[in-house]
Every structure is written in structure tokens, then in C-alpha cells.
């Protein structure tokens, strides 16, 4: 199908873009890489009256190291660039690992880092990653800017706190403490296809080898990515063990996720996947952490 008729604006600066968004209000929609939005428009699931295309705003595409050892990534940075960037690989090897699972090279070459997060697809990797990595998101509008933690940013399937006149401008990833290991695990029917279930684990060990902190995030098994509280409860302060990981998996499966049945898999099968992937992800994250991350 073809989209309904829409107006198109291509601002060349952030200010110009924000002006346009304010002017358009509910009629306007940001176009980033278009890898989700254009398809949604073609299927008429999205019917914006006007698009504000950010692709001509070079100031929105960058990867900058922050002083504390983290990274600031401009929203229009292509996923492919994040995947290939040496500094990213050094500071957050997880990102490169995950990127390879996002669609195909063509999709990643167009799709943007911020756009994927703003899209808040419950089956998307980057919204889940931003939550697992505790990302801070810079949201701008004509009247000012605000910082939102990734966990607060997404509140439902394809739903974020962004107002129509706002744009996501930057994603800041805080540094990993020493002895942090991170892992991504997924199962999909087809390479490059959406995950039937996936798990992200980021674990920090203290000097004595006990779990100092853990972020465990499940995706494709609920309406949003799910950050596990049970994992923190069970693991933090404890020596990691297979038994503990299994206890986390059980607690996650019985209490924290809410998978759906669709044509690709039943809810029960997704639960089974999470049961297995949680243990695998935690085990590997712990191994990596103990090797220094």
C-alpha cells in the first residue's frame, strides 16, 4: 500500500526542526531512519499529516565520549555506525554484539540509534538496551529541554513520554563500573528476524566476587522491555551461582513477564526460552565480569 497524503519538511538545524514541530503540534511526526515509520505509514497504521525529517541535520549525528567514561550518542547516528565505532566497541562491547541482531545491514545503515528508542517497539533491541544500560535521554522542545531515564521514557508498546512538539536529541550511556560483564541472548525464527524472546544481562561484581549490581532485561515477552526486580533482589550482595541464576529465571518466568501467543510461538514456549536465556545470560555476564568485563 501507499501512505495517505502528507506534508514534508526537511529542517537543516535543530532549532528549525523544533519550530516546525511546535507549529505542527499533533499533526507533525519526526522522521528519522524511516525503517519503522515508513512501513507503518505504508500500512496506514501511522497517518501523520506532516513529517519533519531530521536527516538533513548533521548536528544530530555523533558519537562523543563523555568525561566519566560513558558515551553520548546523537539521536540520528545510524545503528551501523554504532556497530562499527571503535570507541563504542571499547566502552560498550554489548552494543556491537546486539547490533548484529537488528534486522539486516541495510536496515541498520538507515535506521538510527535514537529513532529505534523513540519507536519503543517491545520487540526492538535498542529500547531494551537503553533500559538495561540505564541510558539518559535528552528530550528537546522549543521551550526547553529535559532529561529522562530510559526506564521512565517508555511506558507502553510504542508509547513514550515524548510530546508531539518534542524530539529526542541525545542518548547518554553512563560508564560501566569495573568488573562489569554484559551479554545479549535471543532466539528468532530467522536471522535478522524479530526475537521470539531475548534477554540482556549486565552484571557488576565487587572485589570479593559478589554481585554488586545487576540489570536483567527481557524483551518480546511483554508490552515493554521488562527490567527484573527479582534479579536484583536475589543476586545483589550474593556470590553468583548457577542455583541463584536458576532461581532468578524461575522468579522472572513466574512473576515478571507476560508473553503473548502469536503465529511464531506460544506464550509457554516464550516462557521456556526466558527460563533458559536468563540463566545463560547471567552465567556469561558473570564470567565476563570476573574477567574484568
Amino acid at each position: 500500500m501507499k501512505p495517505i497524503q502528507f506534508d514534508y519538511y526537511a529542517p537543516t538545524s535543530v532549532d528549525e526542526g523544533l519550530d516546525k514541530l511546535t507549529e505542527l503540534g499533533y499533526d507533525g511526526k519526526v522522521l528519522a531512519g524511516g525503517q519503522s515509520l515508513i512501513a507503518a505509514m505504508n500500512f496506514r497504521m501511522a497517518r501523520p499529516a506532516a513529517l519533519v525529517d531530521l536527516n538533513r541535520i548533521p548536528e544530530l549525528a555523533y558519537i562523543k565520549p563523555t568525561d566519566d567514561g560513558g558515551l553520548a550518542i546523537g539521536t540520528m547516528t545510524r545503528v551501523r555506525r554504532v556497530e562499527q565505532d571503535a570507541e563504542v566497541a571499547k566502552r560498550f562491547p554489548l552494543l556491537r554484539e546486539v547490533a548484529q541482531f537488528i534486522g539486516h545491514a541495510q536496515v541498520r545503515t538507515r535506521g538510527t540509534f535514537g529513532g529505534a528508542i523513540a519507536h519503543a517497539d517491545p520487540a526492538g533491541q535498542l529500547p531494551a538496551i537503553s533500559m538495561a544500560m540505564n541510558a539518559n535521554l535528552l528530550v528537546c522542545s522549543k521551550t526547553g529541554e529535559r532529561w529522562v531515564n530510559a526506564t521512565d521514557f517508555i511506558f507502553g508498546p510504542f508509547m513514550t513520554v515524548l510530546e508531539p512538539q518534542e524530539m529526542l536529541a541525545e542518548v547518554v550511556l553512563p560508564p560501566n563500573p569495573p568488573r562489569t560483564g554484559s551479554v545479549y541472548k535471543q532466539v528468532s525464527r530467522q536471522k535478522g528476524g524479530y526475537a521470539q524472546a531475548a534477554v540482556i544481562a549486565i552484571m557488576t561484581l565487587d572485589e570479593a566476587g559478589a554481585c554488586q549490581n545487576v540489570r536483567l532485561v527481557m524483551m518480546s515477552v511483554g508490552e515493554t522491555p521488562i527490567v527484573s526486580e527479582k534479579a536484583v533482589e536475589i543476586l545483589v550482595g550474593q556470590k553468583p551461582s548457577e542455583q541463584a541464576f536458576k532461581a532468578v529465571a524461575e522468579a522472572v518466568v513466574t512473576g515478571e513477564i507476560d508473553p503473548a501467543t502469536d503465529l511464531h510461538a506460544t506464550a509457554d514456549y516464550r516462557r521456556q526460552l526466558v527460563r533458559v536465556l536468563v540463566v545463560r545470560a547471567l552465567t556469561e555476564a558473570c564470567e565476563r565480569a570476573s574477567k574484568g568485563g
Binding site: V187, Q190, L263, D268, Y269, Q272
Partner: protein
Amino acid sequence: MGAIGKSIKRVDALGKVTGNALFPGDINKPNQTYAKILFSNVPHARIIKIDASEAEAMPGVVAVLTAADVPVNEYGLNNMDQPVLCGPGAVKPYTDRVRFIGDQIAVIVAESEAIATRARDLIKIDYEMLPVVTDPLDAMKPDAILLHPDKGSNTFGHYLIRKGDVSNAFKQADVIIEAEYRTPAQEHVFLQPEAGIAYIDEEGRVTVEASGQWVHEDQHQIAHALNLPLEQVRVIYPAIGGAFGGREDISIQIALALAAMRLHERGIERPVKIIWSREESIIGHHKRHPYIIRSKWGATREGKVIAAENELIADGGAYYYTSTKVLGNATLMCTGPYEIPNVHVDSYAVYTNNIPNGAFRGFGGPQGAFAAEMQMDKLAEALRMDPVEIRMKNILHTGSLLSVGTPIPGQVNLEEVLRQCALKAGWHETPSGWQLKASMKNQGDDGSKRRGIGIGVAFKNIGFSFGYQENCTAEIELHGDAEIDQVILKHAGAEVGQGAHTVFIQMAAEALDVPIDKISLIASDTAVTGNSGSVSASRMTFMAGNAIRGAAALALEKWQNEERPTVATYTYLAPKTTPYDPHTGRSEPNVAYGYVAEAAEVLVDVETGELKITKVICADDVGKAISPNLVKGQIEGAVVQALGYTTIENFIQKDGYTLTKNLSTYVIPTVLDVPDEVESIILEFPEERGPWGARGMAEMPVLPLAPAICAAVKQATGVWFDEFPLTPERILTGIGEFEN
């Protein structure tokens, strides 16, 4: 000399990689109109009334055609049991019924596709819903609702084979294996969804440019439905984006031709164009038949299979299509490439309200081979015998008697095909017979990952045959004075991506002993080319090669006699075959066969159920590789298609509705899902009836892969899977890791 046996640049390559080649959807003509087809969207109903008044009144609508507009409202490749447009107003009884969701009801012609689509949605249909039957076992019951009441039964095809005495043989068997196998539907997913354009050509012919596999058969069906003499209909194939059997039956061709003809009659001289979406394509054309196969086989302690009893039930879907032809192949292939003294087969094709099932690469062979090869593996297991060893003990040789009681034609080197595959895959011959090397038996200890290897072997007929007189026509023109400067080859054979046109030119160059670049090809136009028969059943290289050789010999003779320019036409008629005898199944079914053996290595994650095919080895006796690269391309393509069939693809229909209507729900392998390694072993044991010894080969590698993968999964997990696709969920459920 020397034009064959080497991999020349494909003659269609440049056009296709530069975008210059015109596929049907790329063809536009001045002043064209756009058509949409209204599907029934319900699986079984009687149409009481069609109200198209609003659609007709809509500005921009040129015409709305319904059943009453179709001169002879029926079509079908093997049996004309399908209405062109369903609805009241036709003479033929029961034409007012729809029997699956893709039944066509109206053709809407408009100034734009958007208008045609909107007009389509304005058509109101008054249905009387009928009960829906989707399970062929239910459809076979005496009280089942009849899809075609005039036929008296939903079972529309039945074959049997009676060779020897199975019940007596079972008494002598040391082991008996019984099982029920289920094979799934499969969608072709050719790259180019159905599209075409129809118009009245300069000579007044109703002309359709669309994709297909047999221009003359399309022409025949269009002419029949439009009640026109054959020569008043012209079918041309432009570039075709894949076929795989999925274009053997009519999709849009008659609807387009009808529209062009009716517009012309109304004084509207405008071409009519249509492009189906992927969703329309998936609903609108047939699938590979799902089969239920019940097998009971017995063998002696020494591993000799002495009895095979099989019952096959094919879900034919709503219409006849090629079901009985497919069934004929499955009936022959369900006992595998083995010489078995006592055989008892009953096979049935049954109407249901599912999407019709029909031709798909392998054409009944993969379904039959699955049951046969699984049976062999299970017999081997029961006898504690190696799977290669048991196959070697039973395999067809030159002169072997087939299940149908007649010797297999030509030289059979299947033992060597299997040997080469087995050796490459990790088997070796020991004094006590074939064994898998110890290093390959290791099931892997990588935590939850288990390795396995399996092997399968198959034969597949070349051509439709079973009594059908295979034929193929070629015409050759020679131009020049002292020397042949230019050759024009006219041939109807369709280039569906397999490389047929390249091979035609190679064979013509070889036969005429002229350089390849002197030959130009005029192809696939009923107004210019003679009947070639279909590009299907792995037959075209074989048939076209024989036709081209014949035409070349005639042409050279005329050239010698100084006829300038020389024109020679030759129709190759393959040796006669016979259909199944209705009481015994005895027949001489086919002209020739191709032979293949395949081994698959897999990695199974027993906690997630994920299955990865890491390596496939395919040994294929192709007789003569006219173009080795194209042969390799066919092998690799077939492996990926068979891998999808076995593991990833999952076509789901519920109560007659298709749930997997697009490529996000009907998932197929991408280039990233192909095995790490696909090794083609091209063997050339000449087929005496084939041109330069060539056999057909394009379907063969599809046949043994599913059972080879299932055998590998068995080795990895200890569990037999008698049904596929092997989705992770099915694997996990099967190995008892998880209950659903």
C-alpha cells in the same frame, strides 16, 4: 564444438543486474487501465447476489466484470473444475460457489489502482455460508459436505500399486516399522508476485504478457474460457521473477484477458494492467500439498526390505490443479529408490476448503521421499544397521524392477551417487559394511548443543509422463552466405530464473557447431514459438535439448542443400510411457530419472529447540552439466528451499483462512540462514535418451533433505520427528523438554 559443459555468462544476466530486464509489473502501455480482483475472502459459501452498482457508478471505474461476463466459466490445468469468476449467472452448475478464500469473484477495471481498490471494496456480496471442511480425513468421510456436488465425492484422485504379496511378506519380515508421517504446505515465495498486462495486439489477438511456465497451456486455458479460437489468443512471457511450480496454474491471466476482450467489445481500446501484492499472491496461488502418509515396511535381519505398504492422502485444496499428477509421483516415490519385491500403495487426492495445492519443485517427490527415507532410517535403527549400509542393500540398479512392475529405464548409477555422498559426509566402507566414522558419531558436548548427521537418497522422474506424450518444439533459422553468420532459435521454454535460455543457446551452438554469440533467441511467445511443454518436472533441458538437436540436424541438412535462409522446425517426441493400470498400478511411467543423495549435519540446542543446519552435501547425477555453474546454482537453491520447507517455513491455515499472509508471518530462510557449507558433487553418468547425456536435475536436491535433516536431528536428540517443519517449539516439545 565445446559450447556445452562450461559456465558461460548467463544471457539474461546483464538485463537483470542493470534493471533493464522488464518483468511483467514493469511493462506499461499508453492509456492503460488498472485492474483489481475481488477475492471471496470466505472459504465456503454460495453467492446469492452480487451488487456491484456502487462500484460501477464510481467515477474512474471503467468496467466491473462478474461471472455473467465469462463466456465459458471454467478453467484448470488438468481438469476444468474452477470457475473463472464465481457467482450467479453462469450456465455451468455450482459456479455460484466459492470454495476457498482466493476464489475470484469480480474484475474491476479503473483509471488507477487506487480507484479499482476502492471500487472493489464497494461490491456487496450476499453469501449463504456453507460448512467448511479443511481436514482431508474429514473430507473423505461419506457424510462430508461436497465441495463439488456434481462429482459425488471429495476424493478426486486415487492410484494404487499391487506388486507381489505384502501380507505374506510381512510374515517373513524380521522387523516391521509402522508410522504416520505428515508433511506441510509450502508457499513458493517467488520474488515477483503475479502481474501482467493484457491488450488487443496489432493482429486483433487478445494478448496477455504475464509470467508463467508454459505459454501454450496458458493460451489454451484463456481461449477456452473466452470461447475464442486458439489463434485469437496470444501469450507472451517477459522476464519472470521465479516460478518453482507456482506459476503452472492460472492466476491473473484469464481475468486480464477477459477484461481486455470485454473492453474491446465495448469499444474501449485500452490495455489492462494488474499487479498483485504479496498478500494477494499468497492467497491467490496454490501451495505444495500437505500429505498424510501411513507406512508399514518390513525387512529381513540382513537388511533387505521385502514389503512396503503405504497409504497416502493429499490435501488437494479447493480445486483440481495438478493434484493427480503430483499424486502420481508421490505414489511412485513413496517406496524410495529401492527395489522392493512386495509393494502395496493406495493414494488419494481430496478436496478441502484450503487454498488449492499443486505444483511445487519436486512435485510429490519430497512428500513420498520423506516417508520412504524415514522408513529406511527406522528399519536401520531397528536392525542396528548403518543407514548407508541398508540403503546400499536395497538401492535401484540398472534394470531394477520398479514398484510398478517394469524395469527402470536407462543406466542407473545410484549406488555410486550414494557412495560419493557418503564418503564426503564422513562414512567409510569397512569389511563389515558401511559405517559412519567414529569421529562423526560424537553427539557433541557443548552444553546444550547436540550434533547429528543424516543422509537420504532419492530418484525423481524427468517430465510429467505416466502416459502423457512428452513433446517439445524448436525452430532454427540459419542466415548467411558461405558461412552461417547468424542463427535465430525460436523456443517457447520459459526462463524462470533457472537459466534455461542460456542453456538453450549453449545447446544450439553445440549442435550447429557455431560460436555462442552468433545465436539469438526468440522465446516464449505463442505467436512465434512452437509448443515446448512446461518448464517443470525437471524436463526442459532434456526436452529442449532433444528438440534443438533435431532442429539443428534438419537445419544443417537444409543448409548443405543451399536453402538460404534456412528454416527448420523439429518436434521432439519422447519415448512412450503408460499410465498406472487401475487394478495393479503396473506402468512404464517415465522416460528418464535423475538421482541424488544428500547428507545434512545439524546442531540442535536441546534447551531452546533451535536447529541449525551446518552443512549439506549433495551428490547429484545430472547426466551432463550443460552449464556447471547453473547446475550448482540449482543445487544450492534447492537446498535452501528444502531447508526452509523442513525447518523455518510454517504455512498456517485455520478453518479455511490463511493466517500467514505475508512475509513477516510466513518466514522463509534468508541468505543468512543458509548452511555454512553446501557442497555440490556434480556427477555425470550419461542418460542415453538425454541430449549429450543430460538428465533433468532442478528438483532432485529438494527430495532427500527433509528426511536427512530429520535423521540428523534423531542422532542429535534421540527422537524421531515424523512431522515437520521442525520449528524450535516442535523440537522442544518432541524431546520432552517442555509441554505445550
